[in-house]
C-alpha cells in the first residue's frame, strides 16, 4: 500500500502578487534566517553545511522536512536552516521527533543534538528509538564536552579528560555510540568528522535515504572547551571506511571497527541493514489514509454504535 506524498495531495496554489514565487531549489534555499552563533571554528558549522547540501542534493523541499533538536550548542541548528524546525527540551528531540514522524510520516524528520543531549540526558529515548526502528535520521554532533554550560565532562569524554567538573581527570568510561547503536538495533550506523565535509554529505544523504532509524555520530570539535579532541588530533587519526573496503553488512567486522580508538579511528558507514521493517511499516493505522495529522476527525455513526454496544 502506498500513501500519497504531500506534493501529490496539495494542488498548486496561485500565489498572491506580494508573496515570493516558489523558485528552483538552490543550496541557498536551505539557509536559515539567522546566521549561526556558534564559536568561530566550531565543528557544527560543517555539519550544518553538510546537512544543507545533502537536502539540496536529494531535492527535498524545505516544507517537507522537519529538523528537531534538543538543547545545547549543536541543538541550535534548527534555527539556522530553512525547514520546519523544533527546538525542544534537553534530551527530548528524538522523542518529539518520533511523535511528529508518526503523526505525519510523509515528512522527512531529522533530529540533531549533541553527545550530552543524546547519550546522556536523552539516553533512554535513544535506546528505544533504535529498537523501534523509527524512520528518521539522528545526527549527533559529538564534541565530547558540554559546551553551552562552559566545559564540563560529557558521556563521551575520554577517560582521564580534565574538565571543569573533572579537575583531576575523568575516572569514568565513556559511552561508545557505535557499538551501543549496533546492539541497540539501529539499522544505519555511521560516523563522520567535521574536517571531512564531502564525506559527511554522502553519509548524511545515505542516512536520510535509509528506511529506518539512522544514526550519524559526528566528531564535531569544540574549539573552545575541548583542547584534547581537536581538528589537529582527529585529522591524522580518522580513516574512511569506504576507502578501506569495509563491508557494512558484516556485523562482527562493524563491531570491531566500532571499537577502534587511538591511532586509527574509523569514520564512515559501519553498519546497515535493509531487511527490517520500520515502525511505520508495522503499524496498520498508517497503511491507508495518508498522514494521521491530516485525517478527518470524528467517529462515523456505525463505529459509534459499535462502541456504545460494547457498554451494554
Amino acid at each position: 500500500m502506498t500513501t500519497a506524498t504531500i506534493s501529490e495531495v496539495v494542488p498548486p496554489v496561485p500565489a498572491p502578487a506580494t508573496a515570493p514565487q516558489p523558485g528552483e531549489l538552490t543550496k541557498d534555499t536551505y539557509k536559515g534566517k539567522i546566521h549561526p552563533d556558534w564559536c568561530p571554528g566550531c565543528g557544527d558549522f560543517s555539519v550544518l553545511s553538510a546537512l544543507q547540501t545533502a537536502l539540496f542534493e536529494l531535492g527535498l523541499k524545505p516544507h517537507q522536512v522537519a529538523v528537531i533538536s534538543g538543547i545545547g550548542c549543536s541543538s541550535n541548528l534548527p534555527g539556522f536552516i530553512n525547514t520546519y524546525g523544533m527546538h525542544t527540551l534537553h534530551g527530548r528531540g528524538i522523542a518529539v521527533g518520533t511523535g511528529l514522524k508518526l503523526a505525519n510520516h510523509d515528512l522527512k524528520v531529522i533530529c540533531t543534538g549533541g553527545d550530552g543531549d543524546g547519550y546522556g540526558i536523552g539516553g533512554n529515548h535513544f535506546l528505544h528509538i533504535m529498537r523501534r526502528n523509527v524512520d528518521l535520521t539522528y545526527i549527533v554532533m559529538d564534541n565530547q564536552i558540554y559546551g553551552l554550560t562552559t566545559g564540563q565532562v560529557s558521556p563521551t569524554s575520554v577517560k582521564g579528560m580534565k574538565t571543569k567538573t573533572t579537575p583531576h581527570g575523568s575516572v569514568e568510561n565513556p559511552i561508545n555510540p557505535i557499538p551501543l547503536a549496533m546492539v541497540g538495533g539501529a539499522t544505519y550506523i555511521a560516523r563522520a568528522f567535521s574536517g571531512k565535509q564531502k564525506h559527511m554529505v554522502e553519509i548524511i544523504k545515505g542516512a536520510i535515504q535509509h528506511k529506518g532509524f539512522s544514526l550519524v555520530d559526528v566528531f564535531s570539535p569544540c574549539v573552545t572547551y575541548n583542547k584534547d579532541n581537536t581538528y589537529q588530533w582527529f585529522n591524522p587519526r580518522v580513516k574512511i571506511l569506504e576507502e578501506q573496503g569495509h563491508d557494512p553488512t558484516d556485523f562482527h567486522k562493524a563491531m570491531d571497527k566500532g571499537y577502534m580508538w587511538g591511532d586509527e579511528i574509523p569514520i564512515g558507514l559501519f553498519w546497515k541493514r535493509t531487511d527490517l521493517p520500520t515502525l511505520e511499516d508495522l503499524e496498520p493505522v498508517l497503511h491507508e489514509g495518508g498522514p494521521l495529522a491530516y485525517r478527518k476527525l470524528g467517529i462515523p455513526e456505525d463505529q459509534a454504535k459499535a462502541l456504545i454496544a460494547e457498554l451494554m
Binding site: 495531495v9 534566517k33 527546538h87 527540551l89 527530548r92 508518526l102 515528512l107 467517529i299 451494554m312
Partner: protein, 604 residues
C-alpha cells in the same frame, strides 16, 4: 425516593476472581435499567491480599458506594472476618458452608451457607457463580438474565465452559429458592437498558470522540485503563497508540504529534505526571495544544498505588517551571470525564496551550451505569486557528495564500490582540518556522540567537498570557445546588460531587439539617468572582476534600480571599462514604470540630 437501593460486597484475595462476578452483576443490573456504582478496593498485589468490590444498585441514579451492605459474599475467611461484623439486621452473607465459618454478627443478619462442593464440584471459581446466582434469586431477579450474561462472559472460552457455569448457576439459584429467605423488596425494572462504563473507558471514549489520533502512555495505576482501551480500539478507529519507555517520552511524543497537527493525548498518575512536567511547559511555550489526564492516587512517591486521593492539585497548578497559561479541569463523574475531553480539546486547540485533567482513582477506575444517550460520540469539534496544507482535511480548510520557500510573511507567534496566533503545521508550504522552547520572536526566531531583548521577552510573555483573558467566558460557572438559605454550604471539587450530593439529602432527611452544595470543576481558569459571591452569602462553608492539608481550601483562599469555616478531609486512601460527611457536618455545627477527619470503618 428510591424504591430499592441495595449493595452487594464481594471480597477475597486477588486471584480469586472478584472482577468477573462483579462484571456479571453490573451487567445484569444495567440491562434491567437499574442504576449502579461499583467501587473496587484492592491492593497492589497480583495474588493474595484482600480485594473488596462493592456494587450498589437502585432505580435512582447511584453515584457512590453508599453506607451499607445488603449482601456480603466472602470468598475467604479473611473477608468474612473483616466485613461480617459491619452488616446490619436484614442483610445476608452468602458463603461456602463447607469451608468458611461466620463469626460474630448483628441480630437479624441472615446466614446463607451453601454446600459448594455439592453445587459446583471441583470448579475452582464456580463458587463465585453459585453465590451471585443465589444473590439474584434473593433480590427477585429471574434466572434468564444471568444465563444470558454468563453466555456473553464466557463466550471466548467455548460452549463447554458456558454450559458448566450455567448449570452451576442454576443449582445455586434453586438452592437459594429452597433454603434462604428472599429480600422483602424485589429489584424493579428501569425505564430502559443502561450501559456500564469505567471512568477510564469514558476518558478514552471522550478522546476518540474528540478525534484523538495519537495516544501515548506508560502503564501506571490507576490510569492504565485508558491505554488498554486505546490499544484495543486503535486499529478499528485509526488511532496511533504507543506504550513509551517513560512518561518523559510520552509527553514529548504527544507534543511532537500535536505539533504535526494531530489531536494528541495521554493519561498517567501523579508520579508519571511529575516526569511530564517539563514537557508540559514546552506545550505552553511553543503553544502546541495537548490534553493530559492525571488520575490521582495516594502519594507522595509510590504512595498507595491502588488507593484514591485528591493530592495533586498543587502539583498540577505548578507543573513545569515558569509562568505560562494552562487550563485545568476536575471532572465530577464518569460521564463528565467523557464530556470534558472533547470540550477541553476545543479549548486547547483554540487557546494553543496544555489542557490538564485532574481525575482520580475513585471515578477513573470506578464503574457507573450510563444512559447510552449521554454518550453521544458525535461531539462538536473546533480546531481553532490552524493551517493545514491545502487539499488535506484535518477539519481546517484555511486557505493557504503563501507559496515560497523563504517566506517571511507568516509569523507563527504573531502578536495579535487576542494573543492567539494562527498555527501552521509542518508540511504546509510557505509557513516554514521554528517552534522553540527558548523564548522567541513573532517569527519563531530564538531571541537568544540574536540579542536577548527585554522588550521582546515582555511582548511574548504578555501575548501568551493574554490568551487566557477570554477562556473564562467559554466555560460554565459552578452552580449552587439546594436551598439558598441553608445552614451549611458544602464545597467540593472534582470526583466528590456524587457523595456530597447524597449527604446533603441525608442531612435534610435524617438529621433535619438544611445544607446546600457547590461543586467546583474548572480549576484554571477559576470563576473567582462567582464563587466568592456565592460563598459570601453562605452561613457556614465546609470544604470536603480527599487530602490532608486542604489543597483546595488553600487554592480557594488564594484566588478569592475566602476562608472556609470548616473542613472535612480524608486521606486514608479510601473515598468518602455519605455518612462520613453527614457525621462530620453534625460534629461541626455543634462546635465540636473545625476540621473533621472521618474514620474509614471498613478495613480494605
Amino acid at each position: 425516593m428510591a424504591t430499592v437501593d441495595f449493595a452487594i460486597g464481594i471480597g477475597g484475595e486477588a486471584g480469586q476472581g472478584i472482577a468477573t462476578p462483579g462484571d456479571i452483576l453490573a451487567r445484569i443490573f444495567a440491562r434491567r435499567g437499574l442504576h449502579l456504582n461499583a467501587y473496587n478496593a484492592y491492593q497492589s498485589i497480583i495474588r493474595g491480599g484482600h480485594t473488596f468490590l462493592t456494587i450498589r444498585a437502585s432505580d435512582q441514579p447511584v453515584t457512590n458506594m453508599g453506607d451499607k451492605l445488603d449482601v456480603l459474599i466472602p470468598l475467604n475467611q479473611d473477608t468474612m472476618n473483616r466485613h461480617l461484623k459491619l452488616l446490619r439486621g436484614g442483610a445476608c452473607v452468602i458463603y461456602d458452608g463447607d469451608k468458611l465459618k461466620p463469626g460474630e454478627h448483628a441480630a437479624g443478619v441472615q446466614l446463607c451457607p451453601m454446600p459448594m462442593k455439592q453445587l459446583c464440584g471441583t470448579s475452582k471459581l464456580g463458587g463465585n457463580t453459585v453465590a451471585i446466582a443465589a444473590t439474584l434469586q434473593m433480590i427477585g431477579i429471574e434466572f434468564e438474565p444471568l444465563e444470558q450474561v454468563l453466555t456473553r462472559q464466557f463466550k471466548k472460552k467455548g460452549d463447554a465452559v458456558i454450559a458448566e457455569n450455567v448449570n452451576m448457576a442454576r443449582a445455586g439459584y434453586e438452592y437459594a429458592t429452597t433454603n434462604f429467605k428472599a429480600f422483602p423488596v424485589k429489584a424493579p425494572r428501569g425505564a430502559k437498558p443502561l450501559g456500564i462504563v469505567t471512568g477510564n473507558q469514558a476518558t478514552a471514549l471522550g478522546g476518540a470522540a474528540a478525534g484523538v489520533k495519537f495516544y501515548a502512555a506508560y502503564p501506571m495505576s490507576p490510569s492504565t485503563g485508558v491505554l488498554m482501551w486505546m490499544a484495543a480500539h486503535a486499529r478499528q478507529l485509526g488511532i496511533m497508540v504507543r506504550q513509551v519507555e517513560d512518561e518523559i517520552g510520552v509527553m514529548n511524543m504527544v507534543i511532537g504529534a500535536a505539533h504535526a497537527g494531530c489531536r494528541a493525548m495521554c493519561a498517567t498518575s501523579g508520579g508519571g505526571f511529575a516526569l511530564m512536567s517539563e514537557a508540559i511547559g514546552m506545550s505552553g511555550m511553543i503553544e502546541t495544544p495537548i490534553v493530559c489526564v492525571d488520575v490521582q492516587r495516594a502519594g507522595p512517591a509510590t504512595g498507595v498505588p491502588t488507593k484514591t486521593e485528591q493530592g495533586d492539585l498543587w502539583q498540577i497548578l505548578g507543573a513545569g517551571q515558569g509562568d505560562y497559561p494552562r487550563i485545568i479541569v476536575a471532572p465530577t463523574s464518569q460521564v463528565d470525564l467523557f464530556k470534558i475531553i472533547p470540550e477541553l480539546f476545543n479549548l486547547v486547540d483554540k487557546y494553543q496551550c496544555p489542557g490538564l485533567v485532574l481525575a482520580d482513582l475513585l471515578i477513573s477506575e470506578g464503574t457507573s451505569s450510563v444512559d447510552p444517550a449521554e454518550l453521544d460520540l458525535n461531539v462538536k469539534i473546533d480546531r481553532g486557528e490552524i493551517i493545514f496544507p491545502n487539499g488535506t482535511s484535518g477539519n481546517g480548510e484555511t486557505p493557504n495564500p503563501f507559496g515560497g520557500y523563504n517566506d517571511n510573511a507568516y509569523l507563527r507567534y504573531k502578536n495579535t490582540e487576542s494573543g492567539i496566533s494562527p498555527r501552521a503545521v509542518p508540511g504546509t508550504p510557505g509557513h516554514i518556522h521554528i517552534a522553540a522552547t527558548d523564548e522567541h520572536d513573532e517569527d519563531g526566531t530564538l531571541i537568544s540567537d540574536e540579542f536577548t531583548n527585554p522588550a521582546k521577552r515582555r511582548m511574548m510573555v504578555e501575548k501568551r498570557a493574554r490568551k487566557m483573558q477570554t477562556v473564562l467566558s467559554q466555560i460554565a460557572p459552578p452552580k449552587l445546588y439546594g436551598p439558598e438559605n441553608a445552614q451549611v454550604t458544602l464545597v467540593g471539587w472534582g470526583s466528590t460531587e456524587g457523595v456530597i450530593r447524597e449527604s446533603i439529602a441525608k442531612l435534610a432527611g435524617d438529621e433535619g439539617i438544611v445544607a446546600n452544595h457547590l461543586q467546583i470543576k474548572w480549576i484554571v481558569p477559576f470563576h473567582a468572582d462567582e464563587i466568592a459571591r456565592i460563598l459570601g452569602r453562605s452561613k457556614r462553608v465546609i470544604i470536603v476534600e480527599n487530602n490532608y492539608s486542604g489543597q483546595f481550601a488553600r487554592y480557594l483562599r488564594s484566588e478569592t480571599g475566602f476562608k472556609a469555616h470548616g473542613h472535612i478531609r480524608k486521606y486514608d486512601g479510601e473515598p468518602f462514604m455519605p455518612h462520613h460527611i453527614v457525621d462530620a457536618v453534625k460534629e461541626q455545627i455543634t462546635g465540636r470540630a473545625e476540621v473533621s477527619v472521618p474514620e474509614h470503618e471498613i478495613l480494605v
